[in-house]
Every structure is written in structure tokens, then in C-alpha cells.
């Protein structure tokens, strides 16, 4: 079930009203059944995979808490291996097999391993990571093992964030399922407003930009560099609006019912450095990697070379997390390189005792530079394969290929898209909270957004980009 559908609208209304009507002791059951239905609406059979990881991690949590010493570590490893195995089979097996077969081909023979004919379960990486964070936190003693199987299942399956995050930590979410939430009109309003803005980002901005980006990348071999440059910049905003729009609907839907999910985006394109970008982009994932991979590897409290190694590992794994394709690995490599280069640059400037004077102009230049680097990396993220990515890059840097911009749609649509991006940037920068104190202000703004979503929305049943991860 996708958020930008009538099915979800009706589902959300029924579940939310029922949630507040039922006695507290039955609410977990309602949410769990609702979440199962929400997930099964995509491909019903994949609930079995989800069920597998839930059962493994539920018992792993209890065993971890009840045991001591080496046994604890063993249970943790077993749980992590089970989770990673699911990911490996469904997400990475065919990719690894393909690369092995390429090596075999180079030596003139065929791969001995068969390809699996399976579809990637929606949101697999998200709920697997959320499940893994639970066992790790129980192991670390930061979270008590959840003995209520239904509540634990709900922690993994809570429908607003089940298929595309935010990837929650057990300390933040599990206790909320035990607490009784009474209907709060203020939360209801702010949650609904957040959902409306998320929907606007998705259907008005992201899906409009998608039409132009898809056209340009599909025809990248014949289009000029200027078109591909504009398409890539548009893609930066498409993926942002798509993913942050999803997160806002998820956070808003949970907020209406009284739950607080973690923030996932904080105006990332206003970052003045790559390290700042990663504190503002997909926060729940970047903190996951920081907490569960970067720090255990030693973080920056180690030798310089090891620190760089740790950084690169994090970003390569992050790339691989997004998808089983070399394009994602290169995307991660680029971000790792950016960070290492930034550290080297800072060290060099420190050495020669040079400091850039703080000014609005310098900050602006930093923002533009950071944005340019991020956009460059997005080329690999968007491209179907490495070859296409290099075709796009080659054309963008070949100024002789620049000609009239043809994004498959008319000039009015392109300028309208630019205007939407400018408005979005202003809103993100200056109005983090929309004034909804009075009913008139709230309902008139809500109505306005709904009307704009209807009139200017692009309804193509396009799924959210991050569902594939």
C-alpha cells in the first residue's frame, strides 16, 4: 500500500479512529494487524520473510538478556547472521553471482551457480536494520528484551515506517507501544499538516520532476550535456522530495496516533560541508551506521589511516545498503572520498595557518560547492549502470554538446518545476513550522495544500524511490 493512494487514505482513517476507540490493551493488536495488512498489500507472501526475522530476533533478544559472557556474544552473532543472510539471499545473491559469472566468462566458462528468480521484498533493508538495532541494543544493555511478542513484532512492523523508515531505535519506539495515547488535537493537527506537506512533496514536486528525469536518463545517449545537467539537478530534488515526503507522511501518520518517530531530514541541501550533509540527510540511517558500524570500528579515535579506512567502509557499506549494483557502491565511494578529502583539506589549512573568513558569501559558496558534489554523486545513484553514469558525466563536462534543454516536457512545466524548487527551499530554510494554532489557519492551509495536490499533482501510481531498498 503506498501513501499516495486512496487505499491508504481509507486505511489510515479507519485504523486511526479505531485506535482511539479501542481500550489500550487491544491497540497493539489493531496496529499489528493493520501493519500486516499494509505490508501484505504489496506482495502477501513476503510477510513470511518478515515473520522469520521477527521470530529470530524476538528469541535472540530474550536469550541475550538471560545469558552471560560468551553466550551473549554468540546469540548476538547468530541473530545478526540470520538477518544479514536474509539480506544476502534476497538482495545480494544475484549481484554477487553476476560478478562471479563475469570472472568465469573472462576465463571462458560459465558460472556454476544458478540465478534466483525472486523479487526483492519491499523495504527489506529498512526493517532488517531496525530489527538488528534491537538485538544490538539489548546486547549493549541499552534496551530491555521485549517479552511481549506482539509488541516486539509491532516494533519491526509499525506500518508508517515499515517500508522506508525512519529506521527507529528500540529505546525510542518500543516503550511508546506500552504507553496509552489519548487523542491530542494539537498532535492531530501537526501530524496531519506534516502528512499534507509530505504528500505535496511527493505528488506535486517529486513525481513532476520524475517525468523529466526519467525521460532524460532514458535518452542519455542522444541528449545534450545541458539537458542532462538540468535533469541531474532535478533528480537531486526529486529524490529529496520523494524520500523526505515519505518520511513526513510516516512521521505525521504516527504523530496523529500519538507516536514520535525520529526526524529523518533537516534541509540537507543547505549543508555547507559533506559531513554536515550527512547530519541532515537520511538521519536515521547515517546515525545507524555511526552507532553500529563506525564507532565499533574505532571511529576517529584511532590512527589516521584507520580513521580514513573506517570512513570509507561506512560509505561503501551504505552504498551497498541502497542497492546491489556497482553504481551504488561508487556513489558510496564518492561520499567517502569527499569526506576524507575534506579532512585532508582542513588539516592542510591548519598546517599553513589559514582560515577562511566567516561571511555569508563564503557560507553560500560552501553550500553551492557541497550541493555540486552531492549532485555529482547522484548521477551514479540514478544511472541504470556504470556505463550510463559515465555517458552522462562525459556529456555534462563536454560543453560542446550543450544545446537547447529538452526534458521531454514543455517550458512551462520546466519553469514551474524550478519555481516549486525555489519555494520548497524557502519553506525548508525559513519555515520549519507552519503556523497552525487557530482552527481557521489550520484548516484553510490544509485545504489549500489538498487542492494544490489535486490540481498540480502528478498521479501515476509511481512508488516511492526508497521502497526498492
Amino acid at each position: 500500500m503506498i501513501f499516495n493512494s486512496l487505499q491508504f487514505l481509507v486505511f489510515f482513517i479507519v485504523i486511526t479512529i479505531l485506535y482511539f476507540q479501542l481500550p489500550h490493551k487491544f491497540r497493539w493488536l489493531l496496529l499489528l494487524l493493520g501493519s500486516c495488512y499494509f505490508y501484505m498489500a504489496f506482495v502477501p507472501i513476503y510477510i513470511v520473510i518478515l515473520g522469520f526475522t521477527i521470530v529470530i530476533d524476538y528469541f535472540a533478544g530474550i536469550l541475550l538478556e538471560d545469558s552471560q559472557g560468551k553466550k551473549r556474544k554468540m546469540y548476538l552473532i547468530m541473530s545478526l547472521v540470520a538477518n544479514i543472510s536474509v539480506l544476502a539471499v534476497f538482495k545480494y545473491y544475484n549481484f554477487i553471482n553476476f560478478n562471479i559469472s563475469e570472472i568465469y566468462h573472462a576465463f571462458g566458462s560459465d558460472t556454476p551457480f544458478p540465478y534466483l528468480k525472486i523479487l526483492l521484498p519491499i523495504g527489506l533493508s529498512f526493517h532488517t536494520f531496525q530489527a538488528m538495532s534491537y538485538t544490538i541494543e539489548v546486547y549493549r544493555g541499552n534496551q530491555k528484551a521485549e517479552r511481549h511478542f506482539g509488541i516486539y513484532s509491532l516494533y519491526v512492523m509499525f506500518y508508517p515506517q515499515l517500508v522506508a523508515g525512519p529506521i527507529e531505535r528500540p529505546q525510542n519506539l518500543i516503550h511508546q507501544f506500552h504507553e496509552k495515547h489519548d487523542f491530542d488535537y494539537g498532535r492531530f493537527k501537526s501530524g496531519l499538516m506534516l502528512m499534507a506537506f509530505g504528500l505535496f512533496k511527493k505528488v506535486v514536486i517529486a513525481d513532476r520532476l520524475a517525468m523529466m528525469v526519467d525521460y532524460s536518463y532514458e535518452n542519455s545517449s542522444t541528449l545534450g550535456g545541458s539537458t542532462l545537467l538540468v535533469a541531474t539537478v532535478f533528480y537531486a530534488f526529486q529524490i529529496y522530495c520523494d524520500f523526505s515526503g515519505y518520511s513526513e507522511i510516516a512521521i505525521g501518520a504516527a504523530r496523529v496516533m500519538g507516536f514520535d518517530l525520529m526526524e529523518n531530514f533537516r534541509a540537507p541541501y543547505f549543508s555547507a560541508s559533506i559531513s554536515e550533509f550527512w547530519k541532515r540527510w537520511h538521519i536515521s540511517l547515517s546515525t545507524w551506521f555511526k552507532d553500529y558500524l563506525y564507532i565499533p570500528l574505532g571511529g576517529n579515535r584511532t590512527s589516521v589511516s584507520r580513521w580514513y579506512f573506517n570512513l570509507m567502509v561506512i560509505f561503501l557499506v551504505s552504498g551497498l545498503w541502497h542497492g546491489a549494483n556497482w553504481t551504488f557502491i561508487i556513489w558510496g565511494f564518492l561520499h567517502g572520498s569527499y569526506l576524507i578529502f575534506a579532512i585532508l583539506k582542513d588539516k592542510f589549512l591548519q598546517k599553513i595557518n589559514w582560515k577562511f573568513p566567516k561571511s555569508h558569501l563564503n557560507t553560500f559558496i560552501d553550500i553551492v560547492l557541497t550541493f555540486s558534489l552531492v549532485v555529482f554523486a547522484w548521477i551514479f545513484f540514478r544511472a541504470e549502470n556504470v556505463q550510463q553514469a559515465f555517458t552522462v558525466i562525459g556529456k555534462i563536462f563536454d560543453f560542446s554538446s550543450y544545446n537547447a534543454i529538452t526534458l521531454g516536457l514543455n517550458a512551462g512545466e520546466i519553469w514551474f518545476s524550478v519555481m516549486l524548487i525555489v519555494l520548497l527551499s524557502l519553506k525548508e530554510k525559513y519555515y520549519s513550522r507552519i503556523f497552525t494554532n487557530t482552527n481557521v489557519a489550520f484548516y484553510s492551509q490544509l485545504l489549500l495544500i489538498v487542492v494544490l495536490c489535486y490540481l498540480f499533482g502528478v498521479y501515476s501510481e509511481k512508488q516511492f524511490i526508497y521502497f526498492q531498498f
Partner: protein, 358 residues
């Protein structure tokens, strides 16, 4: 009180969801199509293309269109047992007024499998009459007609010698779905969004909003749904069917495959006892109106002019090309009553000539 209202909404939306998953839509559609109030349907009232685009500048109330030409009906003295496979909704009009069709005594209404997906009612071939089989098909559906569909469309099941001779013609009974599969299809109905959209918004109450959206998209962004495009003079909407109409160049081998299929259909049904078998392709509007500007690919003339064609054709393409009158609705993919009447006249004339010469 608050509790009562809350439960009211739970029941209301749950019922809506349940109905969208497993409701009797035929009754709802009938009710809405008949209603002239704001709760009536706006999907087909002004044409199927209007129902896709809602572009307000081309909007024709189909129920208010009238015939221009009289029906010419020179009757033969032979009684005709007519089996008509058709995909025109005006075919219903055809069937309802059989007096306008030559000396037709009995008519069998046969539907193509992509409409209902169920077997047609059995046909009784009557050797005391002239058994005529006519395939009328719109150009854009031509490539959907494959051998299996064509050879199974007539369910000859008469208790006569023809059936005895050809028992294999009977359609295989449709396999029943398991209870679990049926349950799954209801619970996880893949059409639920379309059904909800129909239930909630296929109402004339919302037509102005849909028109406003369409107007904005077309005026400012030059964009309409991909299925539809509009003529340069802003008077006609077309279905954007690449394969059978525009842009896509056809090769001789592609059209010859269709010719071979038509020959096979002809020979098959002749061998099963039909006295006459005809085929008629109703041109897409782009084939008739400004074909050069819209780059019509010439499918119909390529088939009809093929030297290998044995299937007798009721050639409406040539008549349509010669006619100056409007033959299509402006906001619909189908012919209007003029086009339809021309077809009947052509059909009657063809049949009359063939049967008189026999």
C-alpha cells in the same frame, strides 16, 4: 456522542473499503449512468476520451447526438441467421433494432474475450437459413485478436448435425478458482484504488474540478493523460494508439501475418457450417481525419489491398474516406450514429449483393 460519531465513521469507511474490494459494481455503474443528478457518472456521458482527459474544451454529450443519414435496407428474400462479433457499444443499438438489418431473423451477440473473459452464449446454426458470421472490430483492437480468441469466439452448441460433426468447437469450461485464491483476490484486491476512485469521485459533482485540473495541465504544461491527444484545431480528441494508428511504421510481414490470420478464421468458420463469413475493421479516427498530419500508418488499406486476402471484407474505410460528414464523436474513441449508419448501409449492400448473386 463523540464515540457514536467515531464509530459511524469507522463503519462508513470500512464499508466503503469492503465494497471497493468486493462490491457489485454493475448495479452501481448502471445507477450512476442513468442518473442525471450530480451523483450521476461523468466517466462516459461525454465520451470515453473525455472520461480520461476531462478536457473541458472538447466535450460532447453523447446522448444528444443524432443521425444524419437514413438506413438503407434493401431486403433479400433469404432468412438470415446472423452471428455478430463486435466491439462497438453501438452494436447494442444494432442488435436492438434488427429490422434495419437486411432480412435478419435471429441475431447472436458475441463479445470478444477482452471484454468479459467468459464464453459467449451458444449459437444454433440453422441449415434452413443463411448462416452469416460477421467480425466487426475497431482498428486499435485488431492486434488483440489472436488465433485462439478468434477460433473460440463462436460457441456452436446446437443440437444439430453441425455440432455432432464438430464437438471440439465447444469452449472448455472455465476453471474454478480455489476458495483461498478467491479470498486473497478480495482481501488484496489489486483494483482497489481504481474502485475507490470510481466510488468516491466518478460523480458529476466533481466534474468542474477535474476539468479545471485538465485545463491547467493542458494550457500551462501542454500535458494531458498519455492515452489522449488533441487535434490542432482543438475540436477532436484522439486515442493515442501507437501500434495501430500513428507513428509506428508497419512492415508488410506484420500486416501479412494479420492477413493470414483472417484467412484462417474465414476457412475455419466456413468449414464449420457458416455460409458467409465477413470481417470489418472500423478505422480509428486518425485514419480518417487528417491522416497525413497525424502520420497514420495505413494498417487498414495494407490489409484490405493485400493480394493474399481471402476473407471477404465489409470495407467501411473507403466509404468513410469519401464522406464529408462527422463520423466520430469529438470526445470519444468511437464512431457516432453517422458512422454507424454508414456501416449498416454498407453491410446491407454487401450482403444483398452477395446473397442475390448466390
Amino acid at each position: 456522542m463523540k464515540k457514536t460519531i467515531a464509530w459511524f465513521f469507522v463503519i462508513l469507511f470500512s464499508a466503503l473499503y469492503a465494497f471497493a474490494s468486493y462490491g457489485d459494481f454493475e448495479k452501481t455503474i448502471d445507477f450512476r449512468n442513468k442518473s442525471n443528478s450530480v451523483f450521476g457518472s461523468d466517466k462516459y456521458k461525454f465520451g470515453d476520451l473525455f472520461g480520461i482527459s476531462y478536457y473541458p474544451m472538447i466535450k460532447q454529450d453523447l446522448s444528444k447526438t443524432k443521425r444524419t443519414f437514413p438506413v438503407e435496407n434493401p431486403k433479400t428474400n433469404k432468412k438470415i441467421n446472423l452471428c455478430l462479433a463486435h466491439d462497438s457499444y453501438l452494436g447494442k443499438d444494432f442488435l436492438a433494432s434488427k429490422k434495419q438489418i437486411n432480412s435478419v431473423d435471429t441475431i447472436y451477440d458475441l463479445e470478444y474475450p477482452w471484454f468479459r473473459g467468459r464464453a459467449n452464449a451458444p449459437v444454433n446454426l440453422d441449415t434452413s437459413k443463411t448462416n452469416v458470421l460477421v467480425f466487426e472490430i475497431v482498428e486499435r483492437n485488431l492486434f488483440r485478436l489472436d488465433k485462439k480468441a478468434a477460433l473460440n469466439i463462436v460457441n456452436i452448441a446446437a443440437a444439430n448435425e453441425i455440432l455432432a460433426l464438430n464437438p471440439e468447437i465447444k469452449l472448455k469450461p472455465v476453471k474454478k478458482k480455489s476458495k483461498i485464491k478467491q479470498f486473497k483476490e478480495i482481501i488484496f484486491n489489486t483494483r482497489i484504488n481504481k474502485n475507490l476512485e470510481f466510488l468516491l469521485f466518478d460523480l458529476r459533482l466533481f466534474t468542474p474540478f477535474k476539468e479545471l485540473k485538465s485545463y491547467i495541465n493542458h494550457t500551462f504544461f501542454n500535458r494531458l493523460p498519455p492515452e489522449v491527444f488533441i487535434s490542432e484545431n482543438q475540436k477532436q480528441e484522439y486515442i493515442s494508439d501507437v501500434k495501430t494508428s500513428i507513428e509506428d511504421k508497419l512492415t508488410v510481414s506484420e500486416t501479412e501475418k494479420t492477413v493470414a490470420l483472417l484467412n484462417e478464421i474465414h476457412d475455419f468458420y466456413k468449414s464449420k457450417g457458416f455460409d458467409k463469413v465477413y470481417f470489418s475493421i472500423v478505422p480509428n479516427p486518425v485514419a480518417i481525419i487528417k491522416p497525413e498530419a497525424l502520420r497514420y500508418n495505413g494498417l487498414i488499406p495494407m490489409i484490405q489491398n493485400s493480394p493474399n486476402l481471402r476473407m471477404p471484407m465489409i470495407d467501411i474505410y473507403t466509404d468513410f474516406k469519401k464522406c464529408d460528414a462527422d463520423l466520430y464523436f469529438f470526445s470519444d474513441t468511437h464512431w457516432n450514429f453517422n458512422g454507424f449508419t454508414l456501416w449498416i448501409n454498407k453491410f446491407n449492400a454487401t450482403l444483398n449483393a452477395d446473397l442475390s448473386s448466390d
